[in-house]
C-alpha cells in the first residue's frame, strides 16, 4: 500500500497517511529497540547467555539498540506527531503527504541498512554517531531535511496569524538538529582525532539530547495536554521563557560531558554553569504544563493519553535535577563512567521523552484512523508495564552506578564491583523486559485498532468516547 501511495498524486493521498505510516513504523521500531535492549541486558545479567557468536556479542548489539530507539522509535514518533500537529496548529493541511510518505519510506530503508551495518560491526566507533558517513548522508538528506521541508512549508502555509509554541519547537529544533548531525560527523569526514574528536562526538551527542530528544517531546506535551483537557495553555509568556532558555542554556554546555578530559578549564567552567541552568527551561516547562492541568486532574486517572503525558512531565523533574547537578565537577568526579549515567540516559529517553511520545502516538493514530482504541484495558496494561519496568530499570541502574562510583573512588578491584552489581543487572533485565512486553501489547492493540476499532463519528474525538461502548 505504501508503494502505491508513493507514486500517487499528492491530492489523491488520503489526509493523515504519512502520520499513520510514521506512527506504526515508530511502534515497530520501539518493539525492536526495546527487544534488543532486553537481549543486551540479559547478556549483562547472565554472561553465559548467547556466547560464541561474534554478531551477538555485546559490542555489536549495544549501538544497534541505542540507534534503533533514537532514530527508529523516538525520532519517528516525533515525525509522526509533526505530520498531524503542525498542520492542525496552523488550521491547514500537511504541505505534502507525498513528501511525508517518501520520508517514512527512506527513513525505514536507511535505518534498516544502518542498523544492519552496525550489527555487522561496520561503525564509525563514536557513541551516538556510530553510523558510517554514507548512512549519515541518508539521515541528513533522506530523513531530517525532507521532514524539515514538510514542517517549515506547512508552517509557512498556515492559516493562522500566530505560530503556536509547539510549532516554534518543531521548526527550530529540526533546523538545529540538521546542523548538529552534519557537524557531528566531521571527525569521520575530516579524520579528526584525539581531543577534537572527543569534543565533537559529545557536542553531537549532547545536542541530540538537548535540542531534539527532550525539547521536541516537551513541544508535544504543549499540544496533547491542552487538546485533551480542553484547557487553554496556562501561559504564552512562560512558553517564551522555556523556548529561549532551551536555546541559550541547552545548546552551550557540551563540554560538561568531558569534565575529566584535558579540555581547557575555562570551557568546562562555562559549560558547567550552563549545565545547571537547564533547570530554568525545565521549571518553565513543568510549571506551564502542570498548571494547564488545573481542574482536570481526574484525567490523570481516567485518560490514557493524559496518564502517559503527565507521567512524562513528572519524570522531567528528576531528569533535570540529575542532569543539572551530575555534570558539576564535584559530582561528576563520582558518577562519571558508571551505571548512574546509563540510568540518567534512560530517564531522558525511556522516561520523559518516551512517555510524552507514546501519548501523542496514541492520540494521533486514533485521530487519523478515525477509530477508537481497540482496548483501553490493554492500553492501561501497556502503561503499567512500561512505568513499572522503567522504574525497576532506573532505580537498579542508579544503585549500580553508585556502587561503581564508590568502587572507582576507593580503588576496589574491578571484579568485586562486578559481583556487587550483579543483582542490579538482573533487576535491569527484568525492568527492560517488562518495557518490551508492554510494547508488544501496544503494537497488538494498535494493530487491532486499525482493523477493528470503533469508527469515530465526525465532530468527536477518540478520547471523548473512551468509555462509550
Amino acid at each position: 500500500m505504501l508503494l502505491k501511495l508513493l507514486f500517487a498524486k499528492n491530492e489523491d493521498i488520503p489526509v493523515g497517511s504519512a502520520t499513520i505510516f510514521f506512527g506504526y513504523s515508530s511502534i515497530f521500531w520501539f518493539v525492536v529497540g526495546t527487544g534488543l535492549g532486553s537481549f543486551n541486558a540479559a547478556k549483562l545479567a547472565f554472561p553465559d547467555w548467547v556466547t560464541g557468536t561474534e554478531l551477538f556479542a555485546f559490542g555489536h548489539m549495544r549501538q544497534v539498540h541505542v540507534l534503533a530507539v533514537i532514530l527508529g522509535w523516538i525520532s519517528m514518533a516525533f515525525a509522526m506527531t509533526m505530520m498531524y500537529m503542525t498542520p492542525s496548529l496552523g488550521n491547514t493541511k500537511l504541505w505534502s503527504e507525498k513528501l511525508g510518505l517518501w520520508n517514512v519510506f527512506l527513513w525505514n530503508i536507511g535505518l534498516s541498512l544502518g542498523l544492519l551495518l552496525l550489527w555487522m560491526g561496520i561503525t564509525s566507533g563514536r557513541e551516538y554517531s556510530d553510523l558510517i558517513w554514507p548512512i549519515d548522508l541518508v539521515v541528513i538528506f533522506g530523513v531530517l531535511l525532507p521532514l524539515g521541508i514538510n514542517v517549515w512549508m506547512t508552517i509557512a502555509h498556515r492559516k493562522t496569524q500566530g505560530i503556536y509554541i509547539t510549532n516554534w519547537f518543531f521548526g527550530s529544533m529540526i533546523f538545529l538538529t540538521i546542523i548538529t548531525v552534519t557537524i557531528g560527523q566531521s571527525p569521520e569526514l575530516f579524520n579528526l582525532t584525539g581531543l577534537t574528536e572527543a569534543y565533537l562526538t559529545f557536542w553531537h551527542a549532547h545536542n541530540l539530547l538537548g535540542l531534539w530528544i527532550t525539547p521536541v517531546a516537551a513541544a508535544i506535551a504543549y499540544y496533547t495536554i491542552p487538546k485533551i483537557t480542553g484547557n487553554p495553555l496556562y501561559s504564552h509568556r512562560i512558553g517564551h521563557l522555556h523556548f529561549w532558555s532551551i536555546i541559550a542554556f541547552y545548546s552551550t554546555p557540551a563540554s560538561h560531558h568531558l569534565m575529566s578530559a584535558p579540555l581547557p578549564e575555562w570551557l568546562k567552567s562555562f559549560a558547567s554553569v550552563e549545565g545547571v541552568l537547564i533547570l530554568i527551561p525545565a521549571v518553565a516547562f513543568i510549571a506551564n504544563i502542570l498548571l494547564t492541568m488545573k481542574g482536570k486532574w481526574s484525567l490523570f486517572v481516567e485518560n490514557v493519553e493524559i496518564k502517559f503525558s503527565v507521567t512524562g512531565v513528572l519524570l522531567a523533574i528528576p531528569l533535570n535535577m540529575q542532569g543539572g547537578f551530575q555534570q558539576t565537577r564535584a559530582i561528576n568526579w563520582y558518577v562519571h563512567g558508571t551505571g548512574w549515567i546509563v540510568a540518567h540516559a534512560h530517564l531522558a529517553l525511556l522516561g520523559m521523552s518516551t512517555f510524552l511520545e507514546i501519548a501523542a502516538v496514541y492520540f494521533g493514530l486514533q485521530a487519523m484512523l478515525r477509530r477508537k482504541l481497540y482496548s483501553l484495558a490493554l492500553a492501561n496494561l501497556h502503561y503499567w508495564f512500561v512505568i513499572v519496568g522503567f522504574c525497576i530499570y532506573w532505580i537498579s541502574m542508579t544503585i549500580a552506578g553508585l556502587i561503581q562510583g564508590a568502587g572507582k573512588i576507593y580503588e576496589v578491584p574491578y571484579i568485586d564491583v562486578v559481583i556487587a552489581e550483579h543483582p542490579y543487572m538482573i533487576a535491569r533485565w527484568i525492568g527492560g523486559t517488562m518495557v518490551f512486553t508492554g510494547n508488544t501489547i501496544w503494537l497488538y492493540n494498535m494493530w487491532m485498532t486499525a482493523r477493528e476499532g470503533t469508527i469515530i463519528p465526525d465532530g468527536r474525538y477518540a478520547h471523548e468516547m473512551a468509555y462509550e461502548r
Binding site: S88, G90, Y164, P232, G239, W244, W266, S269, E274, G275
Partner: protein, 213 residues
C-alpha cells in the same frame, strides 16, 4: 511595534498593541487550542533566582582545585627532622607534620590539605619528585600537580609570564576563569533579553477571555 518606557517592569508595549494582542489571542484558535497570559508563579520566580545563584556557586572553579606539589613542600622539608625521626609510628609521624604545617598555614592551604590528605607512605613516594623540582625544576612548585605518586606539570593555560628569559603560560589552576566571566555576561544578557521579550507582551493582569484557566 509600539514601545512605551514609562513603566518598563509593567509592560513595554503601548495600550493599543496590548489590546490587539489580547484580541488576537481571544479570536485565534490553533487547531482548537488557545493560550493564556498568566505569569510564572512568584515561588517559581524565586526558585529560578535560586537556580541561577546555585549554578554559579556550585560550579565555581575553586571547588575543583587539584593538589599541587607546593601544598606539600613543608611536609617534605620537615619529614627528616630529628623530631619526626624520633617518632616510630607512621600515623603519628604524619599527624605531627600536619600539626606543624597547619600552625603556619593560611586558610587556603588548610582547605587544600583537608581536601587532599596524604599518609606517611604517600609522602615517601612523592618527596623525591618534589625535591627534584626544588633542586632543578624549570617552573615553580605550584605549577605541578600531585597525581597519585607522580608529580606532573599541570595542563592549565593561564597568562604569559617570563621565566628564564622565555614567555611561557602560567600553569596555576585558577579559582576563577574566563569561562566563568563569559557566563556572568551570558546569563546577564539572557535575563535582560528575556525581560524585554516578556515585558513586550501584555501585562499578566490583562487576561484574554478564553475560558477556564
Amino acid at each position: 511595534m509600539g514601545w512605551k518606557f514609562d513603566q518598563p517592569l509593567y509592560c513595554l508595549s503601548d495600550d493599543k498593541e496590548q489590546k490587539e494582542m489580547i484580541e488576537h489571542w481571544e479570536k485565534e484558535k490553533h487547531g482548537g487550542l488557545s493560550e493564556g497570559n498568566n505569569r510564572l508563579p512568584m515561588p517559581l520566580v524565586l526558585i529560578m533566582a535560586l537556580i541561577i545563584l546555585t549554578a554559579f556557586m556550585i560550579t565555581m572553579p575553586i571547588w575543583g582545585q587539584r593538589p599541587t606539589a607546593d601544598n606539600f613542600k613543608e611536609f617534605v622539608a620537615n619529614m627528616n627532622s630529628p623530631e619526626v625521626q624520633q617518632i616510630a609510628d607512621p600515623e603519628k609521624k604524619i599527624e605531627y607534620l600536619y600539626n606543624l604545617v597547619y600552625s603556619g598555614a593560611d586558610s587556603r592551604l588548610q582547605g587544600a590539605l583537608e581536601r587532599h590528605p596524604i599518609t606517611w607512605d604517600d609522602l615517601l613516594n612523592i618527596a623525591p619528585g618534589i625535591r627534584e623540582i626544588q633542586n632543578g625544576g624549570l617552573y615553580p612548585l605550584s605549577w605541578y600537580n600531585v597525581i597519585g605518586d607522580r608529580i606532573v606539570l599541570a595542563n592549565f593555560e593561564g597568562n604569559y609570564v617570563e621565566i628564564g628569559g622565555k614567555l611561557v603560560r602560567e600553569r596555576l589552576q585558577p579559582w576563577w576563569d574566563k569561562g566563568y566571566t563569559i557566563d556572568v555576561f551570558y546569563v546577564t544578557y539572557f535575563i535582560i533579553t528575556m525581560i524585554i521579550v516578556i515585558k513586550q507582551l501584555p501585562h499578566f493582569t490583562r487576561k484574554p477571555d478564553i475560558g477556564r484557566i
